[in-house]
């Protein structure tokens, strides 16, 4: 269980500082598929950064079970991310000089996962292991990014607009892989999106506006990637 309490975060200093998160509280049970939904500037990415330990909040706390992230040093926080967390970014951020296989190994080596090729196969990239990122399409690059994140066997997977740079067809494909792999692996998903249709895939949706939670609702029957609108 991840427990987030009264998170405050501002950017800038002194008179020019502006609040991005204004006392956000939230609980994310293990195995949940949570979507943080909101327009640009709503604070959803900052919230994701804070929950995942990429950023420290100005106030409030983030707890993973009994572990309070605010009490960890930078090195301990890095160790924490290494042991528990995976990321998928909108812009993929693959290492350009390394092949698909080696990019996936980046995640796999952190958890001593020797069977990372199975994940490459699971995301439909068999036969492209020796290709470099710039030789792949956007959808394929995002699938490498999915494989890289899952190869480290995370307990919680954070996704920041994972289909933001993809067309509908490849976007659905990537979401379908993520959805299926989550059902198999049972890890927790926290996904940021501005697309309300994608939120239909989640178990639970938290809508943010101006740094506050304005709505939280459960999807009684979450939809598959090919059932949602776009």
């Amino acid at each position: 269980m991840i427990r987030i309490e009264k998170i405050q975060k501002s950017y800038g200093e002194g008179g020019s500082s502006f609040p991005v998160l204004r006392g956000v509280s939230l609980e994310i049970p293990k195995g949940d598929f949570l979507v943080l939904l909101g327009a640009s500037g709503s604070g959803k990415t900052t919230l994701l950064n804070v929950i995942s330990g990429l950023e420290r909040p100005d106030g409030g706390s983030v707890r993973y079970g009994s572990e309070e992230l605010g009490h960890l040093s930078d090195a301990e926080l890095t160790r924490f991310r290494r042991d528990h967390i995976g990321f998928i970014f909108q812009q993929y951020y693959l290492l350009p000089g390394l092949t698909v296989e080696k990019n996936v190994k980046m995640g796999a080596d952190l958890s001593g996962n020797k069977e990372y090729r199975k994940i490459i196969e699971a995301v439909g990239l068999m036969g492209k292991e020796k290709k470099y990122p710039h030789e792949l399409s956007g959808g394929e690059q995002q699938r490498v990014s999915v494989a890289r994140a899952l190869a480290k066997k995370p307990e919680v997977l954070f996704l920041d607009e994972p289909t933001g740079a993809l067309d509908e067809e490849t976007g659905r494909q990537v979401l379908d892989y993520i959805d299926r792999l989550q059902k198999e692996g049972g890890f927790t998903i926290v996904m940021v999106t501005h697309n309300a249709n994608i939120a239909d895939m989640a178990h639970r949706v938290v809508r943010l506006n101006s740094g506050r939670i304005v709505e939280t609702y459960q999807n009684k029957t979450p939809k598959g990637a090919y059932e949602i609108g776009w």
Binding site: Y11, V20, S40, G41, S42, G43, K44, T45, T46, N49, L54, E55, A75, T78, R79, F80, R81, R82, D83, I85, G86, F87, F89, Y93, L95, P96, G97, L98, T99, K102, K105, M106, G107, A108, D109, L110, K130, K131, Y132, H134, E135, K152, D160
Partner: protein, 373 residues
């Protein structure tokens, strides 16, 4: 552009000093009365020629490499903006024409070196004249040197900048617009099948392969340090204390500037990789190992080559310059100087890299996710 500025200043400083002296020596040629004076005269002329050819030539080539490196780096860093300009209809030549400004750093560096040389010239001449073995040589201004060592290099490097920029901008507009990656992209199918290595080892290999120029700069920095510092120690006995100090300073400046330039570029060009690795949980130590430590063997190799280079150069110089001269100095490899220089370089190299490693440690992992909302 600080690298080019410093290298040019060093090169022109040395060349102006020795060439001006050589040109002024021509006036005393008819006054040489004895065979010893003739030999000493020839030895001094030869020393000036060798020093200018070796220092000037070596630093000229370094400037060419540095300039091309900077221009490529500039184009890589501004691919999108340059792509937009091309897409709007500006020709490659029109855009590249603006690159003449890269020649300004050459002009400023050469100008500084020329000015410094003229500043130190009275002292240099006084030292050369103090043993009274040759008729007194006075300082004269030679406009040809100003033209050859300041104006001509600045013009040549401005033209080189435009030409090289034009060549680099010759790729299709879309290539410029799409790619933000600085460095040569590898192609699949070119890798030899080999044993499977851990990710960090693979990353280290890939970083070294993609930016071979940086490997050269790391090695060159060590080369300069090894060669010039050891050479300066020998110069005290072979030539003069002033030559020794000059060589020492030039060696140190070149080594430090090149080392900083290379290390800054390595860290800057890998900042995204480092940030992603940090987000995934790779420690500061692991990032440092992957990004920086791969250059160490090349630095040591550069040092050893520099040591061999200075030994061979001095050996040849002594045998040519002092051939047949009675009481000519003898040159032998100085083991204690080698060991002290080696230790000093080791300390400098590790300190600089440690500083950059701390920089890596301070990099925000959030960098990869933009500014957030």
């Amino acid at each position: 552009m600080a690298g080019i500025f410093v290298v040019c200043a060093c090169a022109v400083f040395v060349c102006t000093l020795f060439l001006n002296y050589n040109l002024d020596m021509v006036r005393i040629r008819p006054l040489l009365a004895t065979e010893i004076m003739e030999r000493l005269y020839e030895a001094l002329v030869m020393t000036g020629k060798v020093v200018c050819a070796v220092t000037g030539g070596c630093l000229f080539l370094t400037t060419v490499v540095l300039l091309c490196f900077y221009i490529r780096h500039y184009i890589d860093a501004h691919r999108r903006e340059l792509g937009i300009l091309k897409a709007l209809g500006y020709s490659s030549l029109q855009i590249a024409a603006g690159f003449w400004k890269f020649g300004l750093s050459v002009l400023l560096g050469c100008g500084l070196g020329y000015g410094l040389a003229h500043g130190i010239m009275p002292w240099f001449y006084a030292v050369q004249n103090e043993d009274h073995l040759l008729p007194e040589i006075g300082i004269r201004f030679h406009p040809v040197l100003l033209l050859a060592l300041v104006a001509a290099p600045a013009l040549a490097f401005a033209l080189l900048s435009v030409g090289y920029g034009y060549r680099k901008l010759g790729c299709p507009v879309l290539t410029l617009l799409r790619g933000a990656f600085a460095g040569k992209l590898p192609r699949s199918g070119k890798e030899r099948p080999g044993k499977e290595r851990p990710f960090l080892a693979e990353l280290q290999r890939s970083i070294l392969r993609q930016r071979k120029t940086l490997v050269f700069f790391m090695a060159f920095s060590a080369f300069c340090f090894g060669a010039m510092v050891q050479m300066s120690a020998s110069m005290d006995g072979l030539s003069s204390a002033m030559m020794a100090v000059m060589m020492l300073l030039i060696g140190l400046i070149l080594a430090v500037v090149t080392l900083f330039l290379a290390a800054t570029t390595v860290v800057r060009s890998n900042s995204k990789n480092i940030a992603v690795m940090g987000a995934f949980g790779y420690s500061f130590r692991e990032c440092r190992r992957a990004v920086l430590t791969g250059y160490r063997p090349f630095a040591w190799l550069g040092f050893l080559v520099g040591t061999a280079y200075q030994y061979i150069l001095l050996k040849v110089m002594v045998s040519v310059v002092f051939a047949g001269v009675e009481g000519a100095p003898e040159y032998k490899f100085d083991v204690p100087v080698f060991l002290v220089t080696l230790a000093a370089f080791g300390i400098l190299y590790e300190l600089v890299l440690y500083g950059y490693a701390r920089k890596i440690g301070r990099m925000s992992v959030k960098e990869v996710m933009g500014d957030g909302e």
